[in-house]
């Protein structure tokens, strides 16, 4: 169900040239034991010039906290319609978030970057916790986050 919603959202949010082909991509985010409440995570994509393209997932349901995902918030102006239907629960310390989406082929090897902003109540905001270029070669290679994310990888 979630991935269906995500697909719907993506086909509207990521209107890209040549969006004919898409493939299922699994995004796995594992948090380290930072000793705090559940983390809010925003997963979104920017293009080669750094401009916001669209959101892939929002972990965390209370929009009043979104301002702490500061890069995502500045890029979208806190617009919750960007994450309508692709919002889930916040992710606890030491837990993993695994989501499967249909991502357009055109997103890969074209200079697009996947970003994750993270924030935890009463702890530091960590915008740009992860920034990983979307390439077919980079699939399956785990990346470490700056503060909260133990590793992140995308698999095709």
């Amino acid at each position: 169900m979630k991935s269906l919603l995500a697909t719907l959202a993506l086909t509207t949010a990521l209107t890209l040239p040549g969006l004919a082909m898409a493939r299922p991509v699994t995004l796995t985010t594992t948090l380290n034991n930072y000793g705090g409440d559940g983390a809010y995570l925003a997963l979104y994509v920017t293009d080669a010039s750094g401009a916001y393209v669209g959101s892939l997932w929002m972990a965390g349901g209370k929009s009043k906290y979104y301002e702490h995902l500061s890069d995502w918030y500045r890029a979208t102006g806190g617009d919750t319609t960007q994450v309508n239907g692709i919002t889930g629960a916040s992710v606890g310390a030491g837990r993993s978030l695994e989501i499967t989406l249909d991502l357009a082929d055109a997103l890969f090897d074209a200079g697009y970057t996947l970003h994750i902003d993270a924030a935890v109540e009463d702890m530091r905001d960590s915008p740009n916790e992860v920034a990983v270029p979307l390439t077919t070669a980079g699939a399956g290679t785990p990346v470490t986050g700056r503060r909260y994310i133990a590793n992140f990888s995308y698999d095709m």
Partner: protein, 589 residues
């Protein structure tokens, strides 16, 4: 009505409000501790100085935050490893760990949602709503009991549980109303029901593209005292397009890292300000003393819960249930009861039952609930009034005379007053007489002349009932059996007679106190507590009405003085000093 609104939310939400108040009281300590332990800022220090000092110690600083308590925390990266510390603003160096306090985190989540996510949040909000309903209905009950809002702090009488309940309530109610309203606001804010979201300034269209302007030269930072700082976020290292983000208690702005100029600014919205004030009032963050006071008041909730349940039990036992009580607006007969100990309610129940059998719609209520404008269909008002002490209004008649005297004219509904009392007291049925006199002064039509029932006499009551029946042209037989109070047997230890030669015989009887077990002492279940001047009721064989004797001594034994009168050997006489201190009102009530 108000009592129902107080009783049922109280009993149903007892566990929830107890949990809320205990965890809230525990949480109230943290802001105060933080306020005391946080290194304080020297007056007049600006954000520029502070940020410069911190950057000198931690070159990789990313964010500086100031909590409402004044505690400053810095977050930085040092060779790829994240670091954080509580900062001493005098040096810019870290002095303590910035890790969240685990106890605080646990308590906060418990208090907020019982660890049950959104469902728990809603449950706790329901608890807060129950607390608000309880506070407001309770305040109205206190005002009614005390005889008006002006008598809010009037001294109290009656059983211990009830007194303690009101003593705590009339102080704690302010804090509980404040905490519960702010809690509901915060829940609404969490669920996005309020338009209090933050507004960011529009992104600057152009930045200088340079980096490295000295922090302690930036005009905006130089003008902003540390006391106003919320948060200062640094640009990404090496990203010339990024900006400094400054949040103060007035708004949010962006600073160019190449020139130090303020390139964008957005003020806090009115809603944000309100929400922040409410957050401060609820959590005590930024108002630690208020937080502690609210915490203390919240501690009254468990005590009020226990005493409230005790009052409810006692009320169920002590007052007869009135079946088929009609609403005041629909009843033809309004029965108003002024009772201290509850025995007059028994008479009211008997009268209610008989009148109902005779086909009348009858409403029974306390005299303190007197509201003639609500008696839309009433054809008569019957007042059953006991007396408290030297002619004062009994508990359930507080404020009746004030309200009657404040009326422009008496209601056009005939009234009958029946007093309950004891002829051996000097102020026999004095309150009923006052009521009748006040009614007469207002030219209130009289249904029956003032009558009195001596010492709960069923015969007196039946006689009055026949008179009432004649006035209503119905046959009314009132047979009232006073409920026998729970009794205990005492052992007579000694008796001393004196005064026989003066023709005023008296005896001093000394009784042994029943020995209370440890369990009875702990639960307060044993022999009632008493002090000199209280009355003891003695049930003569074959009578349901206790005779009252004054107690002359305290702890170790019971001692009472009995005047032996020539005609009636054991009728009680009041001693002057005892009358005012008379506490257990089974007699007059």
């Amino acid at each position: 009505m108000i009592r129902t609104l107080h009783r049922w939310p109280g009993l149903l939400a007892l566990a929830l409000v107890t949990i809320l108040s205990l965890s809230g009281a525990a949480l109230s300590v943290f802001p105060a501790v933080e306020r005391i332990t946080a290194p304080q800022v020297e007056t007049g220090q600006t954000v520029a100085t502070l940020a410069d000092r911190i950057q000198a110690v931690y070159p990789g600083v990313e964010q500086i935050r100031r909590s409402p308590s004044g505690r400053i925390t810095a977050y930085w990266f040092d060779q790829g490893a994240p670091g954080a510390a509580v900062i001493d603003p005098a040096t810019g160096a870290g002095v303590a760990s910035a890790d969240p306090n685990q106890a605080l985190r646990w308590l906060t989540n418990f208090h907020r949602s019982l660890f049950l996510g959104d469902g728990g949040r809603i449950a706790m909000a329901a608890g807060a709503a129950a607390m608000l309903v309880l506070s407001l209905s309770g305040a109205m009950l206190v005002a009614r009991r005390a005889g008006g809002w002006r008598h809010w702090f009037a001294s109290l009488r009656g059983p211990f549980a009830g007194r303690l309940h009101v003593e705590i309530a009339r102080i704690a109610v302010i804090g509980l109303v404040l905490s519960s309203t702010t809690a509901l606001w915060m829940t609404a804010s969490t669920f996005d029901l309020l338009p209090d979201g933050g507004v960011l300034p529009t992104d600057p269209t152009e930045v200088s593209g340079e980096i490295g302007f000295a922090l302690d030269q930036m005009a905006t930072l130089l003008q902003t005292p540390v006391a106003e700082l919320r948060e200062l976020s640094f640009p990404y290292p090496g990203d010339a397009t990024d900006v400094f983000t400054l949040k103060t208690d007035r708004g949010t702005g962006y600073l160019d890292q190449g020139t130090g100029a303020l390139v964008a600014w957005a003020d806090l919205t009115g809603w944000e300000r309100v929400s922040e004030t409410i957050y401060m009032l609820h959590t005590g963050q930024g108002a630690a003393t208020l937080g502690l006071v609210l915490g203390m008041m919240a501690l009254g909730v468990p005590a009020m819960g226990v005493t409230g349940v005790l009052i409810w039990f006692a009320g169920r036992r002590g007052r007869p249930r009135i079946r088929g009580n009609q609403p005041a607006g629909r009843a033809e007969t309004i029965l108003l009861v002024g009772s201290e100990g509850g025995s007059t309610w028994g008479f009211a129940a008997t009268l209610h039952a008989s009148l109902t059998v005779a086909g009348q719609g009858v409403h029974v209520g306390p005299m303190s609930g007197f509201a003639p404008e609500r008696y839309a269909r009433a054809e008569r008002i019957i007042v059953l009034a006991a007396t408290y002490g030297d002619g004062a209004a009994p508990a359930s008649a507080k404020g009746f005379l004030d309200r009657l005297n404040a009326l422009d004219g008496a209601p056009d509904i005939p009234m009958a007053v029946l007093g309950f009392g004891d002829r051996s007291f000097p102020a026999y049925c004095a309150f009923a007489k006052d009521v009748a006199a006040a009614a007469q002064a207002k030219d209130w039509p009289e249904l029956l002349p003032l009558d009195a029932i001596d010492r709960q006499s069923p015969q007196d009551f039946a006689r009055w009932g026949r008179a009432l029946g004649e006035a209503l042209s119905i046959s009314l037989e009132l047979s009232h059996q006073p409920v026998s109070p729970r009794t205990e047997t005492l052992t007579l230890v000694s008796r001393r007679n004196y005064g026989a030669e003066m023709q005023a015989g008296a005896a001093i009887l000394r009784f042994a106190l029943p020995r209370a077990t440890l369990w009875q002492r702990l639960t307060g279940a044993g022999f009632a507590r008493f002090q000199a001047g209280d009355l003891i009721g003695v049930l003569p064989q074959g009578s349901a009405v206790p005779r009252l004797y004054s107690l002359a001594s305290g702890r170790r034994g019971l001692c009472c003085k009995v005047f032996l009168m020539r005609s009636l050997s054991s009728v009680v006489r009041q001693e002057s000093g005892c009358h005012e201190r008379f506490q257990r009102a089974s007699f007059h009530g």
